[in-house]
Symmetry: C2
Subunit: 329 residues, 2 copies
């Protein structure tokens, strides 16, 4: 397996990106892990580790796309960026997958417009997430690649999400739900209502509308929505979890007895944190382009980058791109 | 102050509805609280309390709208429902406000189509929520009255929300944010982009896009969105909080030492629960109709109903309806 890791991606690049790539190379020693980015900076970081015998290599990229770069501009103007060169390796079949914790909009633009390009027949590539929830993993898409969608896009998202759920989450018959403001048929905005008719006429296992609660309880394997709604959905889960965690910590610390209780209960809080840790999943796939691309969180640590590589490996092994190609065509 | 409480509203009607009305009458002894619904059932419930000297009265309604009734149908066919009669009292100036924990869609339909009607100039009434979050109260609307919206609706939501924030939450200069998938100008779906231009040209204190995290941290006083997005937003907050609470409880209980810690920390958890308790707010206003209408949660207990009455009182005292009438006109 040949995985390319963007060394210039994360908020603290290249530190977690390089450390994560080393961790991945240690975990899967038969793989070839390629770090793309500013070679001298990558080398400095790599010196912190004993990398002898590992399948690690560096490919230099003269430019880097920043988190606050305007995506379309950066994709057009920084053709020597680590994203262009990294996804170029996948396009040229010199690698199997690309992992980046960088500017999400730029990853989308470089992938769809400048390197890998859309799979023939795919109307819009979609960014998917696998939220880290205790009820178990599901695929939720689109979370931001397409703010405005047509019903036909959502039907393709459902198809691509089902393929991913089958290939990567090992669901033999993925159930698809449409995120809506009510479970009853007929609830929803115009987009949801029109998409419902198309999904009912499809070969997918469509169960109808799901509300956030049902989606999060994993009553379905694939949750479909436009990129605007999906982005609000995912970010509201994150914001609520973070707010509640901070509130609980503050209230526990605010009294001596509750503080002792908090110390005793610490292992339980640790288990909770692990069960909802976004870094355990590592990243979400960009589906619908000619190659496996995993987008990790900008705040990723080394463990998250390593897990994103793991996600990429499963997508490659599951033949996600090939399956989308044959089923969409 | 004359407040009408729907006795046939909540999931366990008339028990919490009557108990909440009694609690409200005890809390505000100068008010006249009118319970509308099946008189004999209300009387049976009222006998559990000493109501002598309280300003409580019963108005009989021969029909009740059920939670699973189709709203438009129920509003059309059940003209003797507690909702019709209760809001009729407000329309006829025999009461100042109506509170119901019943079928939200039916409250909307009965209010806008059959009793109070839209305020002249209001394009679409909106259902607002005041989420119980530790950062403090803000108004977020629409949360479900209008699944599909035009930019001009959202501008009116911003205006009505600002009026409510001023009159009820006592914000002298309410700041308005547009819920979006990114804070930068230019982020958002087509609706958000078009609404941005209109809000920038308005007299409102519009600060631009807000993401869920910023909205929940109360960086603004009014959060505006279409009813579909808002419903997903509110329900995702609820679902995440509930999921995380259950997860923490289960993990704490799963070991003897952490369980002891949980007992010691219990007062802290109690404080957390109170700071995010939806029943503390009681309900959200339906804005844009000719009368104060507060919609409470179907699962409301007596305390929630009482707090919804409190919310109604503040809206009446703040002159919300009159302010919307004069500012929209």
């Amino acid at each position: 397996m040949r995985i390319v890791v963007d060394a210039m991606g994360s908020d603290d690049y290249p530190v977690p990106d390089v450390a994560g790539a080393v961790l991945a190379a240690q975990t899967w020693p038969d793989d070839q892990i390629t770090l793309v980015g500013q070679a001298d900076r990558i080398e400095v970081e790599m010196e912190r580790f004993d990398t002898s015998g590992l399948g690690l290599q560096i490919v230099h990229a003269g430019e880097a796309i920043a988190m606050d770069d305007e995506p379309a501009w950066a994709a057009r103007e920084k053709q020597q960026s680590s994203m262009h060169i990294g996804m170029g390796l996948v396009r040229d079949d010199e690698a199997d997958a690309f992992v980046s914790a960088g500017n999400t909009g730029a990853v989308l633009a470089v992938a769809t417009l400048h390197t890998l390009k859309r799979i023939r027949g795919v109307r819009r590539p979609a960014l998917a997430a696998i939220p880290p929830l205790p009820a178990g993993h599901f695929v939720t898409l689109d979370i931001g690649a397409n703010a405005d969608c047509k019903p036909s896009y959502l039907v393709q998202f459902a198809l691509m999400g089902s393929i991913y759920a089958k290939a990567v989450l090992c669901r033999s018959a993925p159930r698809v739900g449409l995120l809506s403001n009510g479970e009853e048929r007929g609830k929803g905005n115009q987009l949801v209502k029109e998409t419902t008719e198309l999904l009912e006429a499809s070969d997918l296992d469509f169960v109808g509308n799901v509300e956030p609660k049902e989606a999060m309880a994993r009553q379905v394997d694939v949750v479909v929505h436009d990129g605007f709604t999906g982005n609000i959905f995912i970010k509201t889960i994150e914001a609520t979890a973070s707010m509640l965690s901070n509130l609980i910590r503050d209230e526990i610390k605010s009294g001596p007895l509750t503080a002792v209780g908090g110390i005793l209960a610490r292992p339980a809080f640790g288990r909770v944190a692990r069960r909802v840790d976004p870094f355990e999943v590592g990243g979400g796939p960009l589906l619908g382009v000619n190659g496996v691309v995993i987008v990790a969180h900008g705040r990723s640590n080394a463990q998250a980058i390593k897990n994103a590589v793991g996600q990429a490996r499963r997508a490659v092994r599951g033949g996600v791109v090939e399956a989308i190609r044959s089923e969409v065509d």
